[in-house]
């Protein structure tokens, strides 16, 4: 249905539009501006055209960071989505104080500031005083020192990430499950459907829109991730956990290579945009095959 046009609404929206323009559009323009210049300092700038872009495309370190990023985001989706859905399935569908308490506990990691998350895990994983670190090191007998062992650094980052963000998937999936009318479960029970059939043929299809949101959100967020892994590992050991945004910040702030960094930012932005669009179209098309 087309909504009635009420011109007054534009006036109300104007302040927000101005704010967004100021905070987002103008910096974006600035970045585009820098990306075609070589900047030595505020007075010495040289127009270099697309040189930075060409260099970025051949930059080995960038390729490595990009690969690491894809592996990371891929693992995130592979682990968090099934895990989140599985946890949501175990939470009772009825309202009650037990359900509410469970949801609050599950959501707690989402409320913690991201750098604090990093700090929590730094301590948690220390082989001398950290609960988990010490457990692995002494009780399990495995030498655990993640700042120096790349595989352990990856494991630590993954553990932290899953712990932090799976609750979001749980909450979304739970909302989706709650909206399924009881009659479907009753009909399935009458048809003699197994628990697995109920999941496959009723719950999963009905959660489609909610899972679409979950996939998009988790992909975009994980692709842009910075704070938590930076606090935990600093990108190390060496380059092993340097994801795209960490590399970008190193380049822009560490080396103050603003022009290169600006070009990199734009490429970064376009990659995220392209992937999100593809994901969205695929899921939308699959969803449209079904009825109203």
């Amino acid at each position: 249905m087309e909504k009635w046009q009420d011109q007054r609404a534009w006036l109300l929206v104007m302040p927000v539009v101005l704010l967004v323009a100021f905070n987002a559009l103008i910096p974006l323009m600035t970045v585009v501006n820098y990306s075609v210049q070589d900047i030595f300092d505020s007075t010495h700038r040289v127009f270099v055209g697309t040189e930075w872009f060409r260099e970025m495309l051949h930059n080995d370190r960038l390729h490595a960071a990009l690969l690491r990023q894809f592996i990371f985001s891929g693992l995130v989706l592979l682990i968090e989505l099934p895990l989140g859905v599985a946890i949501a399935l175990t939470i009772p569908r009825r309202s009650g104080w037990g359900t509410s308490a469970t949801l609050v506990l599950v959501a707690l990691p989402l409320l913690i500031p991201w750098n604090v998350i990093g700090t929590i895990w730094v301590i948690f994983l220390r082989p001398d005083i950290g609960l988990l670190g010490h457990f692995i090191d002494s009780t399990l007998g495995i030498h655990f020192d993640y700042p120096t062992v790349p595989s352990q650094a990856w494991l630590s980052v993954m553990m932290m990430e899953v712990w932090h963000w799976t609750p979001l998937v749980v909450l979304l999936a739970y909302a989706g499950l709650r909206s399924i009318p009881d009659a479907y479960y009753q009909a399935a029970s009458i048809d003699g459907a197994s628990r697995w059939s109920v999941f496959l043929y009723i719950q999963l299809p009905k959660m489609r829109s909610v899972l679409t949101i979950a996939i998009l959100l988790r992909f975009m967020d994980s692709f842009l991730i910075y704070t938590e892994p930076f606090v935990l590992t600093g990108g190390g050991p060496g380059d092993s956990t340097t994801f795209l945004s960490i590399y970008l910040v190193k380049m822009a702030l560490g080396q103050f290579d603003v022009g290169r960094a600006a070009a990199f930012s734009i490429i970064y932005f376009l990659i995220v945009l392209a992937f999100s669009y593809v994901f969205y179209q695929v899921l939308l098309r699959a969803g449209r095959g079904e009825a109203r």
Binding site: M1, E2, W4, D6
Partner: protein, 367 residues
């Protein structure tokens, strides 16, 4: 308020919800929009209310073009299927809200009107309750009261009784009928039930697949449906449609059934037509003037209190008859059905009415 739609269409994303429609609703009239689901009734109501803008065409109120005016500027009240009430307001506050927002009456005047309207809708004992504490029927009465208190010159109702129990529906229908009998409000009431169109006794606007098929006094449209489709939509139980060949002297339904052409059919040119006969004009006992017997096999017999519905098959068509009284039929039994040739509708090949028979106390007429 006189409402006029001029050549109004509504196209949404390439799909036409309403084809070129021109409709004139007189001030103070009670109009029933009758049609199956997805026919375009709700689209039409929304255009009249001002909730949607027509793709082309104009909406006039008392001759003034209001197509560009939003619903807030038009003086209209609307009642929905889903018992829409403000959930956090009590019944009293719900009913008072339109008057309070208009700000024209004093608190004591508002109080008097609220109590009077609540009493008319029989919800005065519940003025202090919240809508969630009321039953479905009571909630819908609150919605109705809130619409009525505005005293708007135009009232729109979109299948307001469809979510209520059968008996509640009956009661509210009578009440609505009485409220609007001598009222000056122009009412537009959308429904899928032909019974309601006849019961309210106003005009019927038959809508199907985005088009207005016929518009006129309900009983008129019922007795003289302009097309086969109108006959189908405006029937409960369904109208019987049979192909027949009309000759100069006889009308033949099948190799074994033919009867003399009745007065209203004499002017028809010979050819193939479709005969329409309503279920309650078929009998199992012959009366003088009836056509010969149609021997049919009973496929189904349903007893509904003091009436019987019989579905019986003859050759390649099935007739549904509504018989008075309780008749027991065994399935597969052979019975004789009689119809009065003077009562038949005749539709030509294009589906338009060519002749209409005597309907109740009318005299025969032909087109």
């Amino acid at each position: 308020m006189r409402v006029t739609l001029q050549n109004v269409t509504k196209v949404v994303r390439g799909q036409t919800h309403l084809y070129d429609t021109t409709l004139d609703l007189e001030s103070g009239s009670f109009n029933v929009l009758l049609g199956p689901t997805q026919a375009g009734k709700t689209s039409l109501l929304r255009l009249i209310a001002g909730l949607d803008r027509p793709t082309t065409g104009a909406v006039l109120e008392d001759g003034k073009d209001v197509t560009a005016a939003g619903v807030r500027k038009r003086n209209v009240a609307m009642v929905y299927q889903e018992f829409v009430n403000y959930p956090s307001f009590t019944v009293y506050q719900n009913i008072a809200s339109p008057l309070r927002r208009a700000g024209r009456l004093s608190a004591t005047e508002i109080d008097a009107k609220v109590r009077a309207t609540a009493e008319m809708m029989r919800i005065d004992p519940y003025l202090g309750r919240l809508p969630s504490e009321l039953s479905g029927g009571q909630q819908q009465r609150v919605a109705l009261a809130r619409a009525l208190i505005k005293d708007a010159p135009l009232l729109l109702l979109d299948e307001p009784l469809v979510n209520l129990d059968y008996k509640l529906r009956e009661e509210l229908r009578s009440e609505i009928r009485h409220i609007f009998r001598d009222n000056e409000t122009t009412v537009v009431y959308a429904t899928t039930e032909p019974q309601e169109a006849l019961l309210f006794g106003g005009n019927a606007v038959v809508v199907d697949a985005g088009r207005v098929l016929q518009h006129g006094p309900a009983l008129e449209v019922y007795r003289r449906p302009a097309t086969v489709r109108v006959g189908e939509v405006f029937s409960d139980p369904p109208i019987n449609l049979v192909r027949a060949h009309v000759g100069p002297h006889e009308c033949r339904l099948s190799p074994s059934v033919a009867f003399p052409v009745a007065a209203h059919m004499r002017e028809l040119s010979p050819g193939d037509y479709r005969i329409g006969v309503r279920a309650n004009h078929i009998e199992v006992t012959s009366r003088s003037g009836d056509s010969g017997a149609i021997r049919a096999t009973v496929e189904l017999a349903e007893i509904n209190g003091s009436e019987t519905y019989v579905h019986a098959r003859h050759g390649d068509f099935t007739l549904v008859a509504l018989l008075e009284g309780v008749h027991e039929f065994a399935l597969g039994a052979e019975i004789d059905l009689y119809l009065d040739p003077a009562r038949l509708f005749v539709f030509n090949g294009a589906g338009d009415l060519a002749a209409a028979g005597r309907q109740n106390d009318q005299t025969a007429e032909a087109r």
